[in-house]
Amino acid sequence: MSRTSDIVVVGGGVIGCAVVQHLAALLPRDTRITLLDRGAIAGGTSGSSQGHLMVTPDCAQEYAFTHTSVRLWADLQEQEGGFDYNPTGALYIADDPADVELFATLRDQFRACGDDAQVLDAKQLREVEPGLARDLPGGVFYPGDGVVLPMPGCAAMLRVARRNNPHVEVLSHTAVTGFEVSGGRIEGVRTVDGVIATRNVVNAAGVWSPDLAAMAGQPRLPVVPRAGNLAITAHHASPIRTQILEVSYLRVAHGAAQADPLRTDQDTGAHAVNMQPQTNGGCLIGSTRQFQGMKRTVNPELLRRSLQRAARYVPALASSPLVRTWVGLRPYSLDKHPLIGPWPGLEGMWVATGHEGLGITLCQVTGLLLAQQFAGTTPSVDVKPYLPARVCA
């Protein structure tokens, strides 16, 4: 392990790896970049996620943010590949006739962003996705979305990083135990294997980012874990080929939450099922949302609700063998926007966290924006809503 580094990124998930990738691309080739994770690379939330790349058209800012990031993923595929990149598009469906009105609304939202989506009637819906139940009223197809495998995605990002910069050092199973701070600035990172002298640290530790901030004597970042129960079916059993989401998903997941995120004993009741086909033939089903602290035990009743919705839409799913269930913890930012940029409370401290359910989608643009801010170049997307300064008292 090097005893000095120019910039240490803490957190080897998709966010941390994308930060390393873009730092390596933007900064001089001899910059010493170190990535630390207390466990396996992609072993945290990234390893539990669904891997969907999702463009959200709610507003121009969100659209620019997600669309840019999904484009960057496509670039990574072209440049490197190796993560089962699958441009499935996304099919938004509903079974409640009241939700059918939302189809046109969704298409209009995409149009307002300069993009397009196609409203499908019942017959067209079945042509696009024959695995769907026959009584659905229709849906909306947006071609821009896709599915990736996040773990090999991290590996791909690190390979690209190393090609641009041979000094990129990746240290898994190396937990941070503290920071060396002097005169209001970072001087080093203490790890289980010794101290790394550095003047720059990026906190990309996801649901552990508040702990890491506290280790540096800073207030805990306003990020709390938001659990999701997931399930995956065995191979050769995926009855779908597109990515399928209930049209209420956008409203439920990214709109106003009904529950108080600081209470960890509640189910937010925010259920909107979504499903991704896997290239090995399995089908991944999510996604519940609860605040339950760091608990990662599966809640069978909640999972049952998701799977019942899924089977309602895709009848063949009922006979698909279930292979695995698990819980992932999304880093939920209390003001619903990620934190990307310098932390004003401590010189040399940077933050890249709080992506909730859009971590996989947004990691690329996050890495880019962080690197651009670090390098002092103009950010490709308006970064103001994401600056951590807004939460720094």
Partner: protein, 468 residues
Amino acid sequence: MSRGAERTIDADVGIVGAGPGGMAAALELSRAGLTVAVLDEGSRTGGQIFRQQAEGLAARGRLAEPPSHEEGHHLVHELGEAPVQVVHGATVWDAKPGRLWFERDGASWLLRCQRILLAPGAYDRCIPFPGWTLPGVVTAGAAQVMVRGFGLRPGTRALVAGSGPLLLPTVTALLSAGVEVVEALEAAPRSAMFRALPGVIGNAARLREAAYYLKALLRSGKRLRWGWTVFGVEGDGRVERATIGRLDASGAPIRSTARTIDVDLVCAGFGLVPAVELAALLGCELEWNPLRGGWTTKVDEQQATTVAGVYAAGEIAGIGGAEVAMAQGRLAAAAIVRAVHGRQVAPRTLARARSERRSADAMLRAFPVREGWFALADASTVVCRCEDVSYDKLGKAAAIHGADGRGIKMGCRAGMGPCQGRICGPSLQALACRAVGAPCTGAPMDRPAVQMPVKPVRTATFLDAPQG
């Protein structure tokens, strides 16, 4: 009425596994007046080691049967007469203390009980070698299923390779089915035979078994080769040839000794791995015990696990074979009866379990897993069959993510397929360490993390699961 009430059964004790351990326990518990329900995945009682023939089939007279099987048949018969409910074709997929959810005939069931005894047995340890995914390569256990269970003659010319006490039973089963065993290869060195002696001497039943197998081998004119194993298999869409050769002191192939034989069947068995997934799901503490097969369920002197009301007997408490399983099954039953009726456990029951465990350990010490076996795989050898991960890909993933279980999963999905890591799991870490040149102490770097379903079941089974 709660969901699935009509698919719920009740018993004082729920037993998972109708093999020697489960059968012996069920009989003792029933005699003590407790109601028992036994859940078994197979279509007949007997488990793997006492596998009974399919109903209607009568090739038994021709099947070679070692002396221990007499007791097995006896147990099967007695269980059939006892007031014990045995559910066949039952796959247990979720459990809580006092609750066992199972799938049977596509329907979702629940067994409610006061106490649980886990005796689900073990599965074959698979060591990857080039060409092992070719159709016609089967595990040693599979050979027994096909011959004993279903009266098949699975091939005409067979190679049997592997290590441990199950090698000879595999050979004799094939011989009695009329298969020519071209080569029988024990990977351990000849000295293992002498190391195994303490496990056999002083134990009359084991002596009888050993004598039986040696006689069968002598009669067949076949000779076991010690310190040999399969180097690779080839063929056009199925097994046609195998390359075999000698191993060095570490168990690694000495390539210069390689020779090729024509075979149409390869049976490979490198020992057994305890099936501890259900115990882990129930929250039972596991212990790493490489001598006894790897992760084993921690039990006290009377087979109680660390979870109140949950007991474990047989292979999952440490590989040991039928005698250990029966002794531990009886001991667990006695412990449960003591908990219910206050009747003390007979010292003889305890002593028997201990003595059988000692004999079994002596056998196991003679046939340890050797690290050289993990040098059989080459770059393109598939190490995770479900996800088609090659040794090369495994190494690349381990280099970035780490050679521990989680790192391997993160890096290449090995272990994440429908077999839930049963086939590849026991080898992955050793292979990964070897690939990245890291020292492999053998001790796993992380505990298995188990969530339901512990066996793949239809989504509908999960959805319709009776409420507890």
